[in-house]
Protein backbone atom coordinates (compact mmCIF):
# COMPACT_ATOMS: atom_id res chain seq x y z
CA UNK A 1 0.00 0.00 0.00
CA UNK A 2 1.31 3.40 -0.88
CA UNK A 3 2.26 5.50 2.08
CA UNK A 4 0.58 8.84 2.02
CA UNK A 5 2.35 11.92 3.31
CA UNK A 6 0.79 13.55 6.38
CA UNK A 7 0.23 17.23 7.02
CA UNK A 8 1.31 19.10 10.11
CA UNK A 9 -1.69 17.97 12.10
CA UNK A 10 -1.07 14.39 11.18
CA UNK A 11 -4.00 14.13 8.81
CA UNK A 12 -3.59 12.25 5.59
CA UNK A 13 -2.86 14.33 2.55
CA UNK A 14 -4.74 13.06 -0.47
CA UNK A 15 -2.54 12.40 -3.51
CA UNK A 16 -2.24 15.51 -5.66
CA UNK A 17 -4.01 14.23 -8.72
CA UNK A 18 -7.60 13.06 -8.39
CA UNK A 19 -9.07 12.34 -11.77
CA UNK A 20 -10.84 15.27 -13.37
CA UNK A 21 -14.09 13.40 -12.98
CA UNK A 22 -13.70 12.82 -9.25
CA UNK A 23 -12.90 16.49 -8.88
CA UNK A 24 -16.02 17.49 -10.72
CA UNK A 25 -18.13 15.02 -8.76
CA UNK A 26 -16.80 16.53 -5.57
CA UNK A 27 -17.68 19.95 -6.96
CA UNK A 28 -21.31 18.96 -7.38
CA UNK A 29 -21.66 17.91 -3.78
CA UNK A 30 -19.68 20.88 -2.49
CA UNK A 31 -22.03 23.14 -4.44
CA UNK A 32 -24.99 21.55 -2.73
CA UNK A 33 -23.43 21.90 0.69
CA UNK A 34 -22.57 25.49 -0.14
CA UNK A 35 -26.18 26.32 -0.83
CA UNK A 36 -27.18 24.98 2.57
CA UNK A 37 -24.78 27.37 4.23
CA UNK A 38 -24.93 30.42 2.02
CA UNK A 39 -28.56 30.71 1.20
CA UNK A 40 -30.50 28.66 -1.19
CA UNK A 41 -31.04 28.93 -4.95
CA UNK A 42 -32.96 25.92 -6.17
CA UNK A 43 -33.02 26.97 -9.82
CA UNK A 44 -29.26 27.57 -9.75
CA UNK A 45 -28.77 24.12 -8.24
CA UNK A 46 -30.91 22.50 -10.92
CA UNK A 47 -28.99 24.36 -13.60
CA UNK A 48 -25.68 23.17 -12.14
CA UNK A 49 -26.97 19.60 -11.96
CA UNK A 50 -28.06 19.59 -15.59
CA UNK A 51 -24.60 20.69 -16.66
CA UNK A 52 -22.93 18.23 -14.30
CA UNK A 53 -24.94 15.37 -15.77
CA UNK A 54 -23.65 16.09 -19.24
CA UNK A 55 -20.08 16.45 -18.03
CA UNK A 56 -19.92 13.57 -15.58
CA UNK A 57 -22.31 11.05 -17.06
CA UNK A 58 -21.06 11.88 -20.55
CA UNK A 59 -24.53 12.13 -22.00
CA UNK A 60 -25.43 14.43 -24.86
CA UNK A 61 -28.14 16.39 -23.06
CA UNK A 62 -29.95 16.49 -19.72
CA UNK A 63 -33.12 18.08 -18.40
CA UNK A 64 -34.70 18.38 -14.97
CA UNK A 65 -38.48 18.41 -14.74
CA UNK A 66 -40.69 19.19 -11.79
CA UNK A 67 -44.38 18.42 -11.45
CA UNK A 68 -46.76 21.35 -11.00
CA UNK A 69 -49.96 21.42 -8.88
CA UNK A 70 -52.01 20.22 -11.85
CA UNK A 71 -49.76 17.20 -12.43
CA UNK A 72 -47.93 18.57 -15.47
CA UNK A 73 -44.19 18.10 -15.84
CA UNK A 74 -42.41 21.40 -16.32
CA UNK A 75 -38.81 22.06 -17.28
CA UNK A 76 -36.73 23.53 -14.45
CA UNK A 77 -33.34 23.33 -16.11
CA UNK A 78 -31.69 21.87 -19.19
CA UNK A 79 -28.10 21.47 -20.26
CA UNK A 80 -28.86 23.30 -23.46
CA UNK A 81 -31.29 26.20 -23.68
CA UNK A 82 -32.16 25.70 -27.34
CA UNK A 83 -35.92 25.70 -27.75
CA UNK A 84 -35.93 22.36 -29.59
CA UNK A 85 -34.55 20.53 -26.58
CA UNK A 86 -37.02 22.32 -24.32
CA UNK A 87 -39.86 21.24 -26.57
CA UNK A 88 -38.60 17.67 -26.56
CA UNK A 89 -38.77 17.78 -22.78
CA UNK A 90 -42.19 19.43 -22.68
CA UNK A 91 -43.77 17.17 -25.30
CA UNK A 92 -43.53 14.33 -22.81
CA UNK A 93 -46.56 15.68 -20.99
CA UNK A 94 -48.60 13.88 -23.62
CA UNK A 95 -46.43 10.77 -23.79
CA UNK A 96 -42.82 9.97 -23.13
CA UNK A 97 -40.32 8.33 -20.79
CA UNK A 98 -40.53 11.17 -18.25
CA UNK A 99 -44.29 10.87 -17.96
CA UNK A 100 -44.06 7.11 -17.47
CA UNK A 101 -41.29 7.63 -14.94
CA UNK A 102 -43.38 10.16 -13.04
CA UNK A 103 -46.47 7.91 -12.95
CA UNK A 104 -44.61 4.76 -11.96
CA UNK A 105 -41.96 6.26 -9.71
CA UNK A 106 -39.47 3.96 -11.43
CA UNK A 107 -36.57 4.65 -13.75
CA UNK A 108 -37.39 4.30 -17.43
CA UNK A 109 -34.39 3.08 -19.38
CA UNK A 110 -34.56 3.18 -23.16
CA UNK A 111 -31.12 2.07 -24.17
CA UNK A 112 -32.11 1.97 -27.82
CA UNK A 113 -34.90 4.28 -28.97
CA UNK A 114 -35.12 2.50 -32.32
CA UNK A 115 -36.75 -0.48 -30.66
CA UNK A 116 -39.70 1.45 -29.17
CA UNK A 117 -41.53 2.94 -32.10
CA UNK A 118 -44.99 2.03 -30.89
CA UNK A 119 -44.63 3.27 -27.34
CA UNK A 120 -44.30 7.06 -27.67
CA UNK A 121 -44.59 7.78 -31.39
CA UNK A 122 -44.45 11.57 -31.33
CA UNK A 123 -41.69 11.75 -28.75
CA UNK A 124 -39.60 9.05 -30.47
CA UNK A 125 -39.91 10.81 -33.79
CA UNK A 126 -38.87 14.14 -32.33
CA UNK A 127 -36.00 12.59 -30.37
CA UNK A 128 -34.84 10.77 -33.47
CA UNK A 129 -34.84 13.99 -35.45
CA UNK A 130 -32.66 15.45 -32.74
CA UNK A 131 -30.20 12.59 -33.20
CA UNK A 132 -30.88 10.89 -29.88
CA UNK A 133 -30.62 7.12 -29.79
CA UNK A 134 -30.94 6.49 -26.05
CA UNK A 135 -33.15 8.09 -23.40
CA UNK A 136 -33.21 7.67 -19.61
CA UNK A 137 -35.67 9.06 -17.09
CA UNK A 138 -34.80 8.87 -13.38
CA UNK A 139 -37.46 9.70 -10.79
CA UNK A 140 -37.12 12.46 -8.24
CA UNK A 141 -38.67 10.64 -5.32
CA UNK A 142 -39.62 11.86 -1.89
CA UNK A 143 -40.80 8.90 0.18
CA UNK A 144 -43.93 7.72 -1.63
CA UNK A 145 -44.26 10.72 -3.90
CA UNK A 146 -42.59 11.42 -7.23
CA UNK A 147 -42.08 15.16 -7.69
CA UNK A 148 -40.22 15.20 -10.98
CA UNK A 149 -37.74 13.49 -13.23
CA UNK A 150 -34.20 13.75 -14.53
CA UNK A 151 -34.13 13.16 -18.27
CA UNK A 152 -30.90 12.11 -20.03
CA UNK A 153 -30.30 11.77 -23.76
CA UNK A 154 -27.49 10.17 -25.72
CA UNK A 155 -26.57 10.05 -29.37
CA UNK A 156 -25.51 6.43 -29.16
CA UNK A 157 -27.62 3.49 -27.99
CA UNK A 158 -26.59 1.56 -24.87
CA UNK A 159 -24.41 4.45 -23.85
CA UNK A 160 -24.87 4.43 -20.07
CA UNK A 161 -23.63 1.64 -17.81
CA UNK A 162 -25.40 0.42 -14.67
CA UNK A 163 -22.90 2.36 -12.62
CA UNK A 164 -23.70 5.43 -14.67
CA UNK A 165 -27.41 4.96 -14.00
CA UNK A 166 -26.81 4.66 -10.27
CA UNK A 167 -24.86 7.91 -10.36
CA UNK A 168 -27.65 9.53 -12.40
CA UNK A 169 -30.15 8.46 -9.72
CA UNK A 170 -27.89 10.07 -7.12
CA UNK A 171 -28.08 13.34 -9.08
CA UNK A 172 -31.86 13.09 -9.16
CA UNK A 173 -31.80 12.55 -5.40
CA UNK A 174 -29.61 15.65 -4.96
CA UNK A 175 -32.23 17.63 -6.87
CA UNK A 176 -34.96 16.30 -4.56
CA UNK A 177 -32.94 17.24 -1.48
CA UNK A 178 -32.54 20.67 -3.05
CA UNK A 179 -36.30 21.17 -3.14
CA UNK A 180 -36.55 20.28 0.54
CA UNK A 181 -33.86 22.82 1.39
CA UNK A 182 -36.27 25.61 0.61
CA UNK A 183 -37.86 24.74 3.90
CA UNK A 184 -34.98 26.54 5.55
CA UNK A 185 -35.56 29.66 3.47
CA UNK A 186 -39.32 29.84 3.27
CA UNK A 187 -41.42 29.44 6.34
CA UNK A 188 -43.64 27.07 4.43
CA UNK A 189 -43.07 23.51 5.52
CA UNK A 190 -45.30 22.03 2.89
CA UNK A 191 -44.06 20.46 -0.30
CA UNK A 192 -46.78 22.08 -2.40
CA UNK A 193 -45.54 25.55 -1.53
CA UNK A 194 -41.90 24.61 -2.09
CA UNK A 195 -42.58 23.18 -5.52
CA UNK A 196 -44.59 26.22 -6.50
CA UNK A 197 -41.81 28.59 -5.50
CA UNK A 198 -39.29 26.61 -7.55
CA UNK A 199 -41.58 26.55 -10.57
CA UNK A 200 -42.33 30.26 -10.30
CA UNK A 201 -38.62 31.04 -10.06
CA UNK A 202 -38.14 29.42 -13.44
CA UNK A 203 -40.84 31.68 -14.91
CA UNK A 204 -39.03 34.76 -13.58
CA UNK A 205 -35.90 33.55 -15.35
CA UNK A 206 -37.85 33.24 -18.61
CA UNK A 207 -39.11 36.81 -18.20
CA UNK A 208 -35.57 38.04 -17.51
CA UNK A 209 -34.31 36.23 -20.62
CA UNK A 210 -36.93 38.12 -22.63
CA UNK A 211 -35.87 41.46 -21.19
CA UNK A 212 -32.21 40.86 -22.06
CA UNK A 213 -32.94 39.31 -25.45
CA UNK A 214 -34.90 42.39 -26.48
CA UNK A 215 -32.60 44.96 -24.93
CA UNK A 216 -29.35 43.49 -26.28
CA UNK A 217 -30.70 41.72 -29.37
CA UNK A 218 -29.64 38.29 -28.10
CA UNK A 219 -31.13 34.87 -28.62
CA UNK A 220 -32.60 33.19 -25.55
CA UNK A 221 -29.64 30.89 -24.81
CA UNK A 222 -27.26 33.85 -24.86
CA UNK A 223 -29.61 35.88 -22.69
CA UNK A 224 -29.63 33.02 -20.17
CA UNK A 225 -25.85 32.85 -20.30
CA UNK A 226 -25.66 36.55 -19.42
CA UNK A 227 -27.81 35.93 -16.34
CA UNK A 228 -25.93 32.84 -15.31
CA UNK A 229 -22.50 34.31 -15.90
CA UNK A 230 -23.26 37.26 -13.67
CA UNK A 231 -24.88 35.04 -11.03
CA UNK A 232 -21.69 32.98 -10.77
CA UNK A 233 -19.24 35.88 -10.89
CA UNK A 234 -21.14 37.95 -8.37
CA UNK A 235 -22.05 34.98 -6.18
CA UNK A 236 -25.74 35.90 -6.34
CA UNK A 237 -28.65 33.52 -6.67
CA UNK A 238 -29.79 33.00 -10.23
CA UNK A 239 -33.46 33.58 -9.37
CA UNK A 240 -32.57 36.75 -7.47
CA UNK A 241 -30.57 38.09 -10.41
CA UNK A 242 -33.47 37.34 -12.74
CA UNK A 243 -35.96 39.11 -10.45
CA UNK A 244 -33.64 42.13 -10.26
CA UNK A 245 -33.39 42.30 -14.05
CA UNK A 246 -37.19 42.19 -14.43
CA UNK A 247 -37.61 44.83 -11.73
CA UNK A 248 -35.17 47.09 -13.54
CA UNK A 249 -32.62 46.96 -10.71
CA UNK A 250 -29.80 45.46 -12.77
CA UNK A 251 -28.70 46.96 -16.07
CA UNK A 252 -26.74 45.28 -18.82
CA UNK A 253 -23.65 47.19 -17.69
CA UNK A 254 -24.13 45.68 -14.23
CA UNK A 255 -24.41 42.21 -15.73
CA UNK A 256 -21.43 42.44 -18.02
CA UNK A 257 -19.15 44.63 -15.94
CA UNK A 258 -16.75 43.52 -13.21
CA UNK A 259 -18.66 41.96 -10.32
CA UNK A 260 -17.86 42.04 -6.64
CA UNK A 261 -18.85 38.99 -4.68
CA UNK A 262 -20.64 39.60 -1.38
CA UNK A 263 -17.72 37.97 0.37
CA UNK A 264 -15.31 40.33 -1.30
CA UNK A 265 -13.48 37.77 -3.39
Amino acid sequence: MTEHPTDREGGVVVPQEPTGREHRLADVFVTLADTLVNGFDVVGLFDDLAGACVELLEVTAAGLMLVDPAGRLRVMASSNERSRLLELLEIQNDAGPCLDCYHSGQAVVVADLAGTNGRWPEFSQEAGRFGFAAVYALPMRLRDETIGALNLFHQRPNAISDAGLRLAQAFADVATIGILQQRAVQRSTDLAGQLQTALNSRLIIEQAKGVLAERENLDMPDAFEMLRGYSRRAGRKLSEVAAAVVAGELTTDDLTGPATRPDGR
Binding site: D68, P69, T197, I204, Q207, G210, V211, E214, V246
Partner: protein, 235 residues
Protein backbone atom coordinates in the same frame (compact mmCIF):
# COMPACT_ATOMS: atom_id res chain seq x y z
CA UNK B 1 -67.28 22.81 3.71
CA UNK B 2 -69.68 25.09 1.85
CA UNK B 3 -73.46 25.09 1.78
CA UNK B 4 -74.02 27.25 4.84
CA UNK B 5 -76.46 29.53 3.03
CA UNK B 6 -74.29 32.53 2.35
CA UNK B 7 -75.53 34.37 -0.71
CA UNK B 8 -73.19 35.35 -3.55
CA UNK B 9 -72.46 39.05 -3.25
CA UNK B 10 -73.50 40.31 -6.64
CA UNK B 11 -76.28 37.88 -7.44
CA UNK B 12 -74.52 36.39 -10.45
CA UNK B 13 -74.49 32.63 -10.24
CA UNK B 14 -70.96 31.42 -10.76
CA UNK B 15 -70.57 33.32 -14.02
CA UNK B 16 -66.99 34.35 -14.46
CA UNK B 17 -64.04 32.03 -14.29
CA UNK B 18 -62.79 33.69 -11.10
CA UNK B 19 -66.14 33.17 -9.43
CA UNK B 20 -66.19 29.55 -10.45
CA UNK B 21 -62.71 29.00 -9.07
CA UNK B 22 -63.69 30.58 -5.75
CA UNK B 23 -66.82 28.43 -5.48
CA UNK B 24 -64.81 25.36 -6.44
CA UNK B 25 -62.51 26.16 -3.49
CA UNK B 26 -65.49 26.03 -1.13
CA UNK B 27 -66.63 22.73 -2.61
CA UNK B 28 -63.21 21.08 -2.50
CA UNK B 29 -61.60 22.47 0.65
CA UNK B 30 -62.45 22.78 4.36
CA UNK B 31 -63.26 26.50 4.04
CA UNK B 32 -66.33 28.71 4.24
CA UNK B 33 -65.60 31.45 1.72
CA UNK B 34 -63.09 32.88 -0.72
CA UNK B 35 -62.14 36.16 -2.33
CA UNK B 36 -59.71 37.27 -5.00
CA UNK B 37 -58.29 40.75 -4.89
CA UNK B 38 -56.10 42.69 -7.27
CA UNK B 39 -53.12 44.39 -5.72
CA UNK B 40 -50.24 46.49 -6.96
CA UNK B 41 -46.85 47.21 -5.46
CA UNK B 42 -47.80 50.84 -4.88
CA UNK B 43 -50.80 49.96 -2.77
CA UNK B 44 -53.72 49.88 -5.16
CA UNK B 45 -56.22 47.24 -4.11
CA UNK B 46 -59.61 46.07 -5.25
CA UNK B 47 -61.85 43.08 -4.76
CA UNK B 48 -62.33 41.19 -8.00
CA UNK B 49 -64.58 38.47 -6.64
CA UNK B 50 -65.96 37.40 -3.24
CA UNK B 51 -68.18 34.40 -2.61
CA UNK B 52 -70.13 36.03 0.25
CA UNK B 53 -70.43 39.07 2.48
CA UNK B 54 -67.96 37.80 5.08
CA UNK B 55 -65.30 37.17 2.43
CA UNK B 56 -65.86 40.68 1.12
CA UNK B 57 -65.61 42.17 4.60
CA UNK B 58 -62.33 40.31 5.18
CA UNK B 59 -60.96 41.91 2.01
CA UNK B 60 -62.25 45.34 3.01
CA UNK B 61 -60.56 44.95 6.39
CA UNK B 62 -57.26 44.14 4.64
CA UNK B 63 -57.57 47.17 2.36
CA UNK B 64 -58.55 49.58 5.12
CA UNK B 65 -55.77 48.47 7.45
CA UNK B 66 -53.15 47.62 4.82
CA UNK B 67 -52.42 44.34 6.57
CA UNK B 68 -53.71 40.78 6.76
CA UNK B 69 -53.13 37.37 5.18
CA UNK B 70 -53.76 38.33 1.54
CA UNK B 71 -51.63 41.45 1.80
CA UNK B 72 -48.87 39.40 3.44
CA UNK B 73 -49.10 36.70 0.77
CA UNK B 74 -48.89 39.33 -1.97
CA UNK B 75 -45.92 41.06 -0.38
CA UNK B 76 -43.92 37.95 0.52
CA UNK B 77 -44.80 35.85 -2.51
CA UNK B 78 -45.49 32.89 -0.21
CA UNK B 79 -48.68 31.28 1.09
CA UNK B 80 -49.83 32.60 4.48
CA UNK B 81 -51.59 29.97 6.57
CA UNK B 82 -53.28 30.83 9.87
CA UNK B 83 -55.32 27.88 11.14
CA UNK B 84 -56.38 29.73 14.32
CA UNK B 85 -56.67 33.51 14.25
CA UNK B 86 -57.23 33.55 18.01
CA UNK B 87 -54.19 31.48 18.92
CA UNK B 88 -52.11 33.26 21.58
CA UNK B 89 -48.78 34.85 20.66
CA UNK B 90 -48.95 34.76 16.87
CA UNK B 91 -45.61 35.22 15.08
CA UNK B 92 -44.68 38.88 14.57
CA UNK B 93 -45.34 38.75 10.85
CA UNK B 94 -48.93 37.62 11.55
CA UNK B 95 -49.62 40.13 14.30
CA UNK B 96 -51.84 42.36 12.14
CA UNK B 97 -53.35 44.20 15.15
CA UNK B 98 -55.53 46.50 13.06
CA UNK B 99 -56.76 43.70 10.79
CA UNK B 100 -57.65 41.51 13.79
CA UNK B 101 -59.51 44.42 15.36
CA UNK B 102 -61.40 45.08 12.13
CA UNK B 103 -62.42 41.42 11.76
CA UNK B 104 -63.01 40.65 15.44
CA UNK B 105 -66.79 40.63 15.06
CA UNK B 106 -66.75 38.44 11.97
CA UNK B 107 -67.17 34.72 12.31
CA UNK B 108 -63.71 34.01 10.95
CA UNK B 109 -61.51 31.51 12.79
CA UNK B 110 -58.94 30.55 10.17
CA UNK B 111 -57.51 32.30 7.12
CA UNK B 112 -55.33 31.00 4.30
CA UNK B 113 -53.99 33.26 1.57
CA UNK B 114 -52.03 32.63 -1.62
CA UNK B 115 -50.15 35.09 -3.81
CA UNK B 116 -51.43 35.25 -7.36
CA UNK B 117 -48.44 35.72 -9.63
CA UNK B 118 -47.06 34.67 -12.97
CA UNK B 119 -43.29 34.74 -12.64
CA UNK B 120 -42.34 38.20 -11.41
CA UNK B 121 -45.76 39.62 -12.31
CA UNK B 122 -47.59 39.98 -8.97
CA UNK B 123 -51.27 40.41 -9.60
CA UNK B 124 -53.04 39.96 -6.26
CA UNK B 125 -54.06 37.34 -3.74
CA UNK B 126 -56.59 34.60 -3.10
CA UNK B 127 -57.83 34.71 0.51
CA UNK B 128 -59.78 31.81 1.99
CA UNK B 129 -61.49 31.88 5.36
CA UNK B 130 -63.08 29.25 7.58
CA UNK B 131 -65.58 29.59 10.39
CA UNK B 132 -63.79 26.77 12.21
CA UNK B 133 -60.27 26.46 13.50
CA UNK B 134 -58.17 23.98 11.49
CA UNK B 135 -55.15 23.45 9.28
CA UNK B 136 -54.99 23.54 5.52
CA UNK B 137 -52.27 21.06 4.69
CA UNK B 138 -51.20 18.00 2.73
CA UNK B 139 -53.51 17.16 -0.16
CA UNK B 140 -55.82 20.07 0.69
CA UNK B 141 -52.94 22.52 0.53
CA UNK B 142 -51.84 21.08 -2.80
CA UNK B 143 -55.38 21.54 -4.11
CA UNK B 144 -55.47 25.13 -2.85
CA UNK B 145 -52.15 25.87 -4.59
CA UNK B 146 -53.62 24.43 -7.77
CA UNK B 147 -56.64 26.72 -7.47
CA UNK B 148 -54.31 29.66 -6.87
CA UNK B 149 -52.46 28.85 -10.10
CA UNK B 150 -55.74 28.83 -12.02
CA UNK B 151 -56.82 32.04 -10.28
CA UNK B 152 -53.60 33.74 -11.38
CA UNK B 153 -54.45 33.21 -15.03
CA UNK B 154 -58.09 34.13 -14.45
CA UNK B 155 -57.06 37.32 -12.66
CA UNK B 156 -54.83 38.22 -15.59
CA UNK B 157 -57.85 37.87 -17.87
CA UNK B 158 -59.94 39.89 -15.42
CA UNK B 159 -57.41 42.71 -15.40
CA UNK B 160 -57.24 42.56 -19.20
CA UNK B 161 -60.99 43.03 -19.20
CA UNK B 162 -61.75 39.83 -21.03
CA UNK B 163 -62.95 37.32 -18.44
CA UNK B 164 -66.61 38.30 -18.64
CA UNK B 165 -66.60 37.69 -22.36
CA UNK B 166 -64.91 34.32 -22.22
CA UNK B 167 -67.04 31.32 -21.44
CA UNK B 168 -64.08 29.23 -20.43
CA UNK B 169 -64.15 26.42 -17.91
CA UNK B 170 -61.58 26.49 -15.10
CA UNK B 171 -59.63 23.73 -16.80
CA UNK B 172 -59.10 25.71 -19.97
CA UNK B 173 -57.89 28.65 -17.96
CA UNK B 174 -55.16 26.55 -16.42
CA UNK B 175 -54.28 25.26 -19.85
CA UNK B 176 -50.87 23.79 -20.47
CA UNK B 177 -50.12 26.74 -22.73
CA UNK B 178 -50.11 29.19 -19.85
CA UNK B 179 -46.86 27.74 -18.60
CA UNK B 180 -45.07 27.74 -21.93
CA UNK B 181 -41.77 29.48 -21.45
CA UNK B 182 -42.30 31.56 -24.60
CA UNK B 183 -45.17 33.44 -22.95
CA UNK B 184 -42.88 34.65 -20.17
CA UNK B 185 -40.01 35.38 -22.55
CA UNK B 186 -42.38 37.37 -24.75
CA UNK B 187 -43.64 39.33 -21.73
CA UNK B 188 -40.06 40.31 -20.90
CA UNK B 189 -39.55 41.50 -24.47
CA UNK B 190 -42.84 43.45 -24.44
CA UNK B 191 -41.75 45.08 -21.17
CA UNK B 192 -38.68 46.45 -22.94
CA UNK B 193 -40.54 47.34 -26.13
CA UNK B 194 -43.24 49.35 -24.36
CA UNK B 195 -41.27 50.60 -21.36
CA UNK B 196 -43.84 49.21 -18.92
CA UNK B 197 -43.59 46.93 -15.88
CA UNK B 198 -43.95 43.16 -16.09
CA UNK B 199 -47.58 43.14 -14.88
CA UNK B 200 -48.64 45.52 -17.63
CA UNK B 201 -46.60 43.55 -20.18
CA UNK B 202 -48.37 40.28 -19.27
CA UNK B 203 -51.76 42.01 -19.51
CA UNK B 204 -50.93 43.57 -22.89
CA UNK B 205 -49.78 40.24 -24.27
CA UNK B 206 -52.97 38.51 -23.15
CA UNK B 207 -55.16 41.39 -24.41
CA UNK B 208 -53.53 41.32 -27.82
CA UNK B 209 -54.04 37.57 -28.12
CA UNK B 210 -57.68 37.88 -27.18
CA UNK B 211 -58.42 40.80 -29.47
CA UNK B 212 -56.78 39.05 -32.43
CA UNK B 213 -58.50 35.76 -31.63
CA UNK B 214 -55.22 33.87 -31.34
CA UNK B 215 -53.85 31.59 -28.61
CA UNK B 216 -51.53 33.49 -26.30
CA UNK B 217 -48.78 30.96 -27.00
CA UNK B 218 -48.89 31.71 -30.73
CA UNK B 219 -48.63 35.45 -30.18
CA UNK B 220 -45.75 34.83 -27.77
CA UNK B 221 -43.94 32.65 -30.31
CA UNK B 222 -44.24 35.42 -32.93
CA UNK B 223 -42.78 37.94 -30.50
CA UNK B 224 -39.90 35.66 -29.48
CA UNK B 225 -39.09 34.97 -33.13
CA UNK B 226 -39.26 38.69 -33.81
CA UNK B 227 -42.13 38.46 -36.27
CA UNK B 228 -44.19 40.74 -34.03
CA UNK B 229 -43.18 43.77 -31.98
CA UNK B 230 -45.25 45.87 -29.66
CA UNK B 231 -44.92 49.59 -30.19
CA UNK B 232 -46.10 52.39 -27.92
CA UNK B 233 -49.26 52.90 -29.95
CA UNK B 234 -50.17 49.18 -30.16
CA UNK B 235 -53.04 47.88 -28.04
Amino acid sequence: MGGDGRAPVDGRSRGSVLERICHACIDALPISGAAVSLMTADGHRGVAVATDDVARLVEDAQFTTGEGPGVAAFETGSPVLVPDLDAPRPPAEHAWPAFREATSRLEVCAVFAFPLRLGAASLGALTLYHVEVGDLKGANLATAVRFADAASFALLDFIAGISDRVEASPSSVSDAEYFRSEIYQAAGMVMEQLGVNIEVAMVRLRSHAFSTGRPTGDVARDIVHRRLRFKEDND
